[in-house]
């Protein structure tokens, strides 16, 4: 078997070349791990079909192509849902919101906002702006789900490494998302107020989400410390000063504390009767 395989590889016919090209439909890590074996398997299958006539060869290609379509898409989806890729997709999906918040904080309004996103009166949003707003609101939960899925998948090898997202990141992400959703719900409520007199329960949901975010913040920080304290052997604790988890956790906590401070300051100002506090 060794001799035949090696000989076959030295003179790859068109079919093997086509199959090698088709393997690029698989994600790169899958190709690196199993590409060579897939090619050997294809050669074995091709050799077995060769002695059985044209119909067997056609049947082989049909099997190969159907399998390629289903398995390559399956592997692509699995790769997409892996933690690091999920984080990137989440950031891309959150980009409109990040952009909107950043430009609001910086007080900078790009020229295209006036041109495409607002009506000539300079205030009323255009249909395009409404579509972007709806996409932004829908993208956030989608990003959250994509980020949470890798955490929810069953795996016995629950190994925490500095470059892997953990459940604590999910909690942190969720708490930040709750804060953002609450802010967005306030904005949406403000925008819709000319058309809808009272949102009622919708605004209450926003407040509840905000409260949940406040409760989740300290829990997220504590959870983020757990991987660090569990990393010792024999029950001894081992400190990892370069833990990316800790850095991300601290950054997230800072963001959350800043938002809480802003909220608390506003509430305090209103409660002590500062004029125009809201």
């Amino acid at each position: 078997m060794r001799g035949t395989s090696s000989k076959a590889d030295q003179h790859p016919p068109l079919a093997r070349w086509i199959y090698t090209v088709l393997l690029y439909l698989y994600p790169s890590d899958f190709r690196r791990g199993y590409g060579a074996e897939l090619k050997m398997l294809f050669i074995d299958m091709q050799r077995a079909a060769a002695g059985q006539g044209v119909l067997a060869s056609l049947s082989l290609w049909l099997t190969i192509l159907l399998d390629l379509a289903s398995s390559a898409s399956r592997e692509r989806i699995r790769t997409m849902l892996k933690a690091r890729t999920a984080a990137v997709i989440g950031i891309v999906l959150c980009f409109p919101l990040i952009f909107m918040l950043t430009s609001a904080v910086l007080g900078y309004e790009p020229p295209f906002v006036d041109q495409y996103l607002t009506q000539p009166d300079g205030y009323t949003p255009t249909p395009l702006a409404r579509v972007i707003m709806i996409f932004t609101l829908l993208a956030l939960p989608v990003a959250l789900v994509i980020n949470l899925l890798p955490m929810l998948q069953k795996s016995h090898r629950e190994q925490v490494t500095p470059f892997m997202l953990t459940r604590s990141h999910a909690v942190i992400g969720m708490s930040i998302l709750f804060v953002l959703l609450a802010i967005m719900s306030q904005q949406v409520r403000h925008e819709l107020s000319p058309f809808v007199s009272r949102l009622g329960s919708a605004s209450i949901v926003g407040e509840i989400l905000f409260l949940l975010a406040l409760l989740a913040a300290p829990a997220a920080f504590l959870l983020n410390r757990l991987p660090m304290t569990r990393s010792g052997s024999g029950g001894a604790l081992m400190f990892q000063p370069t833990s990316l988890n800790l850095i991300i956790g601290a950054a997230a906590l800072l963001i959350i504390l800043t938002l809480i401070s802003i909220f608390a300051l506003e509430m305090t100002a209103c409660s002590i009767g500062v004029p125009n506090c809201d």
């Binding site: 078997m1 159907l66 390629l68």
Partner: protein
């Protein structure tokens, strides 16, 4: 939780390709093509595609139900680049649990006469 102490029931029910691969490896280690041939035989000629096979193998390795074997059954007649796979202890227990689950389903089907007349009758008579 270590792999050896994990409850096999938590893996059930297995998908058909996964169970077929575990069955194929139940009587000893095999390489990819060997597994494929065994699966084809056990499935009444229905072939498993290469991508499905190695996608399933990848997940079985990740779940520690199978492992790569360094031993070669017959090095003189084998391609040294081939990877051989074998069941782990956990893989054996999971396959046994799935087989028991299916046996129970078949028992229920028997008790409801699904396998006695129309379906089994033609084969047993």
């Amino acid at each position: 939780m270590t792999e050896s102490t994990r409850d096999p029931q938590s893996f059930l029910p297995l998908t058909q390709p996964i169970f077929n691969i575990l069955l194929a490896l139940a009587d000893g280690e095999k390489h990819g093509y060997g597994i494929m041939q065994e699966v084809t035989t056990n499935s009444g000629g229905k072939r498993m595609g290469p991508g499905t096979l190695y996608g399933s193998i990848k997940r079985l390795l990740e779940e520690a139900l199978i492992e790569e074997s360094d031993e070669r059954p017959d090095p003189a007649h084998d391609d040294e680049r081939r990877r051989y796979y074998r069941l782990t202890d956990l893989g054996q227990r999971v396959a046994a649990a799935e087989a028991a689950r299916m046996e129970e389903l078949v028992r229920i089907a028997h008790s409801r006469r699904l396998l006695s007349g129309k379906f089994m009758g033609s084969e047993t008579e």
